[in-house]
Amino acid sequence: MTIQELESIRKAKSDLIKVRRIVREEGEKLAKKTGYRKQVLVCGGTGCTSSHSMKVIEQLEKSLKELKLDDVLVVKTGCFGLCSLGPIMIVYPEGAFYSQMTPEHVNTVAEKHLVKGGEIVKELLYQGTVMKDGSVIPFAETPFYKKQLRIALRNCGVIAPEDIEEAIAAGDYEALEKVLTSMTPDDVINEMLASGLRGRGGAGFPTGRKWAFAKASEGEVKYVCCNADEGDPGAFMDRSVLEGDPHCVIEAMTIAGYAIGAHQGYVYVRAEYPIAVQRLKIAIDQAHERGLLGENILGLGFDFDIEVRLGAGAFVCGEETALMTSIEGHRGEPRPRPPFPAVKGLFGKPTILNNVETWANVNPIITKGAKWFSEIGTETSKGTKVFALGGNITNVGLVEVPMGTTLREIVEEIGGGIPNGRKFKAAQTGGPSGGCIPAQCIDTPIDYDNLLAIGSMMGSGGMIILDDSNCMVDISKFYLEFTADESCGKCTPCRIGTKRLLQLLTKITEGKGEPDDIQKIEELASHMKSSSLCALGQSAPNPVLSTMRYFRNEYEEHINEKKCEAGVCKAMLNFTIDKDKCIGCGLCAKNCPVNAISKTDYVAAGHKLPSMAIDGTKCIKCGACLANCKFKAIERK
């Protein structure tokens, strides 16, 4: 493909994409020009696919055929962000946001809305878009979306990721064209340096500096790697980028190859992400076919190729040296640094490794300029950050906000608050390597340095919201179980340290904690931090240390009073029957799996049957009695 051909695709299809970015009158005018009266976007990301969005597309195509609506375009996109409402379907030019679609719903929408002169089916819309006066607002104007600024996710949920022409029309490969026609490798690196972009994988190392080191390294052969081994359980930003806009990663890696003098790239992606892997492979094949990857890219004399390597479920492979060892086909164990990968990395050659979200920021920096990018965000953290919002929050999903946005804005406005009338307790960021942001820090502007200062870390972007039904000691134990399980075993402080730390935490949650356990934990944690080989071990104590900093009272209660306020730690729970409320129906005894409940001699005033009682020595604290009692006579303390 030549630059002219690239231009002509852009021209031919850019209006079609634009309709999906602007709405209301302007969008309607533009839609007329495109030849498609309506465009229906259906999410084909993992979240919506899991809630059967493929059946939605099938039915949609069938209904359109039956109604002979050939001026309606169906587009299978990546993630829109609001995964808990899937399957999601958006109709443009109105921007009407239909949620939790079923094949029957789709048929109704086709018959009532998509036909000529049809009207939006309000009952099937996401109710957050229906105003009190009955008017409908587009998805882009909802509280969930309005506060967001989408740079890395700019094309996710907008284009069909399996169609390279849509990607090109949406702006992909524009940066590559600019780089190859008008920039030297040094220009590219200087632009990256000036932008202030920092690695989005967690540590926040300046991307431009990484590239500059690799460029300065001597050697004919160098490599560019993409870390798509998104290991933090509860984080799915990288997956969504790969599913929604895989071409942006291919393009950015090619640009980096040009900047540092590399001709081969590797994407190391989790095998647990089948849709992302498949879309990435399709994108690579299409880029090859069009001459945007491979030899003599765009006829401009630069060669670059990309290979996909699948991970096999090892968290430690998210660490850069371990990832490279794994690509080399070995056990994914980390190695000591220095030498840093920029000097001696994959197959012993100078290598740069960035994660998917970092790559997704490169192209806009090139096309719009470092100045534009560096004006977004805070003093030390530029641009935006994508968070995978999960846990006990109303709007579970993917959000991208400017650095410096407060946790309160994310939780209360974008996230829609805590469901079931519960109280916000803390947000966990950085996964098993991170810590928590407690309620008293909810107004802290989120950036790399502020999070470190309050004892958490940015991490890759998992943000799990905890409410008062979550026990912080239990959450720490959960993370330690994870790191103890995932420790590769190469270095002693991590291999044994995680096990011992987990033992201490288990002891505390089982009600066997002793007063000096807190001190033991602190001591062990400090040794692990200072002497582990890689970031996994160095940061494994973080979840414990950070919860102990803000929720020390919970640890003390568990140890001294043998009490778990949230009612999570089973060993400390006690089920009792209020003998005056119990009518003696015996339903609890019937449901008790261990026959721990029996009749007493006591008959309460006004009741005919004697009340029941639980034998604490037999009780396994399963809660079956509580769930079945219709008279609220059973108490859990």
């Binding site: 808990s84 359980p233 095998a271 647990e272 089948p274 799990i464 590769c488």
Partner: protein
């Protein structure tokens, strides 16, 4: 995924050898071959690891070392329906441990084991990325979301019915 006997069929061996020949010249191909081999056999019996070691001219201990390092590889056969309960953070805070308990109770086996009739095996996994539907479990490729313990029996029964 095909079911297999410990020694495998000649067709399986043929497929495996083809994969080895195809990839042996690619640097770092061992993981790819193990992944393909697990796709062919359903798991990685010792005989298969030996074939791979011989085919690549490396020691069996190296193959075994890699096969046992990554949680995706299994040295034991799995059930016809592979159940994988997500214990990622988003699912955990929404009570996926109770889902796992219920699956274990219903099938009478523990996580990591296979039922005697070979119909089900249970594993836990770390995030399938469907956090919006938490808590989730996968059976084969199918994802079941927004689960409660009382839904488990019905789901398992539907697979039992299917096999009858």
């Amino acid at each position: 995924m095909e079911q297999c006997t410990p020694c495998g069929t000649p067709e399986q061996l043929k497929k495996l050898k083809a994969v080895i020949n195809e990839s042996r010249s690619t640097p770092g191909c061992l993981m790819h071959i193990l992944q393909e081999a697990q796709g062919i056999y359903g798991y990685l019996p010792m005989e298969v690891q030996k074939t791979i070691a011989e085919g690549l001219g490396i020691s069996l201990s190296e193959v075994y070392g890699v096969a046992t390092f990554y949680s995706q590889f299994s040295l034991k056969p799995k059930g016809k329906h592979r159940i994988s309960v997500c214990l990622g953070t988003a699912c955990y805070v929404k009570g996926s441990d109770k889902i796992l308990e219920e699956v274990e109770k219903q099938l009478g086996i523990k996580c990591g084991e296979c039922t005697e009739d070979g119909l089900f095996s249970i594993d836990s996994c770390r995030c399938v990325g469907a956090c919006g539907l938490a808590p989730v479990m996968m059976i084969g490729e199918e994802v079941y979301g927004k689960l409660t313990p009382d839904m488990v029996k019905g789901i398992l029964d539907s697979y039992r019915e299917e096999t009858k």
